[in-house]
């Protein structure tokens, strides 16, 4: 966003430069390049089945990434989402095993997520503790709590409800995985909120300049508080999908998940400094990383190489973006 505006202040740049100044477009070109590259080199990559599979795999990071991006835009960070994935699976699975009701299980999980988000949000927005410290703390507390409660064993889903299993392997019209549908619907709804609803604009204002936002009459603390609740609730949805996929509450679920999501979000052009970025950028960041790891697997590369290459690409992409930004400003 800021890129487009800084670019337009200068003398009219060429069409190509103008196109590339749009963060999302540059990301889209990257995504297409990745897909084209692997379609040519990897077998069975460019098939309907594989494409929709990747969408299904990406749905976790997409859903949680919405919350991550919103918290970033509000000028804070939330790194507790990985541990949250493991935590909310407990009420989900336990309630479902007891009551045989998906609705009750999901409600229980969402309630848990709501409480965690409220704690993170309260400690950050109202108690004034740095959000990295708060969510680092709750990350430890939740992971340790899950280990304590489960004795480091997985709790299997004994209810085996059809509706729950459908979350992992069901497909809309037999094509798109339900998990991807959920992610896309949530993405569209929140993207609309961020762009067109007053609350979305408030989040940008609060993240961009809290002092100005306060003078403009926005309740900065309340906005940040709600952002943390949104983040935790969306991570809860991702946790429910993950629990359906593995068919149990795993104590190790979501380890390092926060790093993946943060990396994809920043790759998508959402700034850690707040006020900058878009959900569509975040979504493209997630898809690029997901198609990349799927394609590398398709080439027969071991997981280790995927890690190495993903790490390099994250650094390169952010460095490239930074260079572009400086050129735009420096003229």
């Amino acid at each position: 966003m800021s890129l487009a505006s800084t670019a337009s202040v200068k003398a009219p740049p060429s069409l190509l430069a103008r196109l590339f100044a749009r963060q999302e477009l540059a990301l889209l070109v990257c995504l297409i390049l990745v897909i084209v590259f692997f379609s040519v080199t990897a077998e069975n990559f460019f098939s309907m089945r594989n494409m929709t599979n990747v969408l299904g795999q990406a749905s976790l990071a997409l859903t949680a990434g919405i919350g991550c991006a919103i918290v970033f835009i509000s000028g804070e960070v939330d790194i507790s989402i990985g541990s949250l994935l493991a935590t909310i699976a407990l009420p989900l699975i336990i309630i479902m095993n007891d009551t045989n009701s998906l609705l009750l299980g999901v409600s229980g999980a969402l309630l848990f997520g709501l409480i965690i988000g409220a704690v993170n949000g309260y400690l950050t927005a109202y108690a004034g503790i740095n959000s990295l410290i708060v969510t680092l703390g709750t990350m430890f507390i939740m992971r340790g709590g899950v280990y304590l409660y489960t004795g480091q064993r997985a709790i299997p889903d004994d209810a085996s409800l059809d509706s729950f299993i459908a979350l992992s392997d069901g497909r809309l019209f037999n094509i798109i995985p339900y998990s991807a549908v959920i992610a896309i619907v949530l993405l569209a709804a929140f993207a609309y909120m961020m762009r067109h609803r007053p609350f979305g604009r408030q989040i940008y204002a609060v993240g961009g300049n809290p002092e100005v936002a306060r003078l403009a009459g926005y309740d900065v603390r309340r906005v940040k508080f709600i952002c943390f609740i949104i983040s935790s609730l969306l991570a809860t949805v991702a946790g429910i999908i993950l629990a359906a996929r593995v068919g149990s509450a795993q104590h190790t679920a979501g380890l390092n998940f926060e790093f993946q999501v943060v990396a994809a979000t920043v790759l998508g052009g959402v700034s850690l400094a707040g006020g900058i970025g878009s959900l569509s950028g975040m979504a493209l960041g997630v898809l690029i990383l997901q198609f990349l790891s799927n394609g590398l697997r398709g080439l027969g590369l071991p997981t280790e190489w995927q890690l190495v290459i993903t790490g390099m690409i994250i650094i390169a992409a952010v460095a490239f973006d930074e260079a572009k930004r400086r050129r735009a400003i420096g003229g």
Binding site: A127, I129, G137, M139, F140, G144, A319
Partner: protein, 327 residues
């Protein structure tokens, strides 16, 4: 985030006092912990237990010394855990093939210092946010260590000098503790009594002002990254000596423990504020908690829960104290 700066940043800098407010809070927490644990379990004060605590502190303190410098310059390094594991494997492999502790140590320091240099260059030259840059490096190292070795690199050299590195004693003090004390002392003197140290604070507090006054701020940050890397090199060798193998899975979550200790010690993530003495207290608090949980026979999974509570609580108490001071 912004409130934190408003509330506390200006006050801390003025005084040359030995104990900042957060150190005082931490000191009290530490004292209460020690008293409470020793009442519940008298063996807490046995010589063997104190040495065990110190030995566990050593690893964290070594890396935390570098990390404190780095965070004071307003950067952070999340790759230290992954680097720790990789260094142990490389050091052990070099030891096995050369049978020379000096060469093994050199290889470990060169590798870890190289990782620090890489991180520093990416952050200062390419201007990548250090949180993201070092997440990237972390992934590369985690993948890379498995490409280097699929399983643990066993100790085939049986060098006594290498075993002493982790398990040896000088008098009654374990070697790792002595190494940690040395590194801590050098870092402490550098930060507190040298121009370089003052510049490190200045870069973190206001990088632009430092640059305008003619100092190359990038070099200072690069320096802090390399120092952090070298500390990881030393810690990695000690760890592989203690485990008698280079474990590719070692060091998972180590970066978070180190950062938690530094933050707990009152060093601000926003840069420009903090002290090594606080870090020492932070490390001690975390490790005394760990130890207390073990000797009280509590569930060891509490070793994750309690530090989480302590980090949040200590930071909150610090904020309350600062608010009271401002009034």
């Amino acid at each position: 985030m912004s409130e934190l700066t408003h509330a506390s940043a200006p006050r801390r800098f003025i005084g040359g006092q030995l104990l900042g407010s957060s150190q005082l809070v931490l000191g009290v927490i530490l004292a209460v912990l020690c008293i409470a644990i020793s009442i519940a379990a008298p063996q807490f004060y046995s010589e063997a237990n104190i040495i065990a605590i110190l030995r566990q502190c050593a690893l964290v303190l070594i890396v935390a010394s570098g990390m404190t410098m780095l965070i004071i310059t307003a950067e952070v390094d999340l790759s230290v855990g992954a680097s720790l594991a990789f260094v142990g494997c490389i050091g052990m492999a070099v030891l096995n093939s050369t049978h020379s502790l000096a060469l093994g140590m050199l290889a470990a320091l060169a590798f870890a210092g190289g990782v620090g240099l890489f991180n520093g260059l990416v952050v200062t030259r390419l201007r990548v946010n250090s949180l993201i840059a070092t997440i990237g490096t972390m992934m590369m190292l985690q993948g890379g260590v498995y490409l280097f070795t699929r399983e643990a690199v066993q100790n085939h050299n049986q060098l006594t000098s290498f075993t002493d590195l982790g398990a040896g004693y000088v008098g009654a003090v374990p070697v790792p503790v002595i190494l940690a004390a040395l590194i801590f002392a050098v870092a402490y003197v550098t930060l507190r009594f040298t121009t370089l140290g003052r510049y490190l604070y200045a870069v973190g507090a206001n990088e632009k002002a430092v640059r305008l006054s003619g100092v190359r701020s990038e070099r200072l940050k690069l320096f802090a990254f390399i120092v952090t890397g070298l500390c990881v090199g030393v810690a990695g060798m000690i760890l592989s000596s203690l485990m008698n193998a280079g474990q590719p899975t070692a060091g998972r979550g180590f970066e978070l423990t180190v950062i938690a200790a530094v933050i707990l010690g009152g060093t601000s993530l926003l840069g420009g504020r903090g002290s090594l003495f606080g870090t020492l207290l932070g490390v001690l608090v975390l490790k005394v908690i760990d130890n207390g949980i073990i000797i009280l026979g509590w569930n060891q999974d509490l070793q994750m829960v309690v530090p989480g509570v302590v980090i949040i609580l200590a930071t909150y108490l610090d904020i309350i104290r600062n608010r009271a001071n401002v009034r």
